[in-house]
Symmetry: C2
Subunit: 409 residues, 2 copies
Amino acid sequence: MGRGRALLGQPVRSGRGVAAEELRRHNLGVVLKHLHMVGPVSRSELTAKTGLNRSTVADLVGELAARGVVTAGPSKIAPGPGRPSPIVDVRPHGAVVLAIEVAVDSLAVATVGIGGHIFNEIRVARPRGHFQPGQTVVDISQLARPLLAALPAEYNLVGAGVAIVGIVRRRDGFVQCAPHLGWQDIPFPDVLATEFVLDVPVRVANHADLGALGEYRRGGLAGVEHLVFVSGDVGIGCGVIVDGSPLLGSAGYAGEAGHNLINPDGRRCVCGSIGCWETEAGERALLRRVGAAAQGEGLDALARVEELAAGGDPATLAALAETGRWLGTGIRGLINVFNPEIVVLGGLYHRFFDYMEEAANETAAGAIDVSRRMTSIVRSSVGAGAALVGAAELVFDDVIADPAAILPG
Amino acid sequence: MGRGRALLGQPVRSGRGVAAEELRRHNLGVVLKHLHMVGPVSRSELTAKTGLNRSTVADLVGELAARGVVTAGPSKIAPGPGRPSPIVDVRPHGAVVLAIEVAVDSLAVATVGIGGHIFNEIRVARPRGHFQPGQTVVDISQLARPLLAALPAEYNLVGAGVAIVGIVRRRDGFVQCAPHLGWQDIPFPDVLATEFVLDVPVRVANHADLGALGEYRRGGLAGVEHLVFVSGDVGIGCGVIVDGSPLLGSAGYAGEAGHNLINPDGRRCVCGSIGCWETEAGERALLRRVGAAAQGEGLDALARVEELAAGGDPATLAALAETGRWLGTGIRGLINVFNPEIVVLGGLYHRFFDYMEEAANETAAGAIDVSRRMTSIVRSSVGAGAALVGAAELVFDDVIADPAAILPG
DNA sequence: GAGTTATGTTGCATGGCCAAACATATTTGG
DNA sequence: CCAAATATGTTTGGCCATGCAACATAACTC
């Protein structure tokens, strides 16, 4: 077993043949990806990690340096005998992404350099109303312009990545619907272009899918290749990383676990069905259970819940535990279906993690034995910005896939 | 969008670099896979499909022919002007797999040649008792020997593929548990080797995962790259194909949706939890609903249900519809989570498809709109042997991944 | 300061694919 | 029946990327 995998341990999937030229493309990507993900390494280490020849690595690093995305600095203190190897690192402004997050309660923009370096980030709260897409791109534009202006002089913008709380078609970034924004059938890249001409590709994806990607790439989860990210907003967003790649499904709508049936005796969901996961474990369910003590909705009400919980209010703690149990029940299903190494909790669940962890673990324990024993439920380590980080990563994937095509020669 | 993918449209995933040698490996695999999946094609068509140069394809086909897996027959009737192109086809006995299926009620063995040619197949019913693994491999051996003896003289056995109704570790085919067989912690390839020395790799995987693979490869579903296969046995098995590859999860335990909570007020499952999908939609649930008219369990009882249903017995039809509704509810969750193009029903649901389809569609309609509209629920087209076919495909994947390493030079 | 060790650098060899020129087999048209 | 047109097979030479080996270099160790 274990033998017999082609090209990089990947199964033969595409029907297309490969020429020598693509080989170079791939190897450039391998080197750049390694630097992007693990940071500065010696060139000799790069040789060991890639399995390529010393001379080949030297050549690849040379080309990436010529294209301005890596620097081959002087060798640092050498730990042993032998000629010291130069330290290679990414050069953040060699490839910069404008990351945009359209969330339920806020709008955020960041300029991110390759390697994950955040030059600047700004987030503004927006009341939960229904902002038209046109108004939203105006707001984005106003947030973004100063950030772009503040970048180092010779930066190289390679694309824009957008995270949206809605269902997005993977092919073209078309927003099928975004109930929390009141959007339906919005060709977002086109709308953005009307306000903000960037001259670079715009990639759009679902908020939770990008949260998963952000956690996977920047969550300090070395070696984890299978994870599920569950984020509580008004609804429940869910993103999955399988074998190191985002699970998108055939059109890009995968991961919508929030509308799975979890309680046939439950309430009616906004989607029209009865007893969806998010009607039992989402924000509304939590506030409903807390009751009059935290009236209204959105950030103010949640802040009140946090206060009450911190003060040890029994009713609030009970509401959080009950919500945690439903959260865990849904997670149980995801563990069964995906057999991930970890389940990462974000959004609402990140905020109230300490109050919900135990209850969630209790019901998630209903998953099949072998999977449950190997899976742990953890708090998001990237935090509120996971989707924003993921939006940048979405574009960096393009750069990694073909550095020579995107970076200046 | 859509640009910027490396090597065959696959993202850069592995950290390893690629040498020219691997390139050849891959291209041989691409050609062989195409022939394996679509059957005989002209060499010029192969050139068009792979995107490779004429001379390269000639060389690749020549090598595969020299290794005995393909034949470059004479050209067939040419449809237009120009020099006719020779028809290339697989040579089934150039790569033969011994496929084995350990199911709940039966044991099956087949000899399958590359291209999917089934030389021989035999299936024997076994009462549902707990056969020890040792006894099972003796039975397999007795079924398999005559099949191997009946193969063409100069066949080339490349491996054995085994489908088991249980939870299998992907790394080494270790059977963690198989409740329906009464097995626990069985290193199946080793146990098989004690009875049956094959001198070829033995690949083991879950029954439903291989059912999905079998449907994907041999179900006549051209172009479908995302599917979910749901098979009703005693429990519910579930296998998923994502982007043309089986979803395995981090250890190989993915797809165990049968133990997801679907009814908090339901019955206790054999797994210890309450209200699992399979306690509402599995074989026991169906027989329970049919009641005294179909006593007992297993094949006899199901045959009785079929009779009653065919005769139009209202109580039986109601029981099938109710079971179909719970089936559809579970499928709804899978549609939300995977956004597949189709959901294929096998096993029990294949058998009673006509009686359950409508009810299943009714509840599955609770899935989110965009996914539901694009997903259809269909009956398995491969039928009872899907897992057996999938077991063969598992081994063919090894051959396709590196033809030169496995096939004689 | 000489020996040891690990790495960088250079030039050449290898392997695989492509492009172009030529050869071949069939259809079409006179 | 033969020639033109067409599409494909075949052969040769060239290109490109990587590997290999020999040599150069820069540290550490004694």
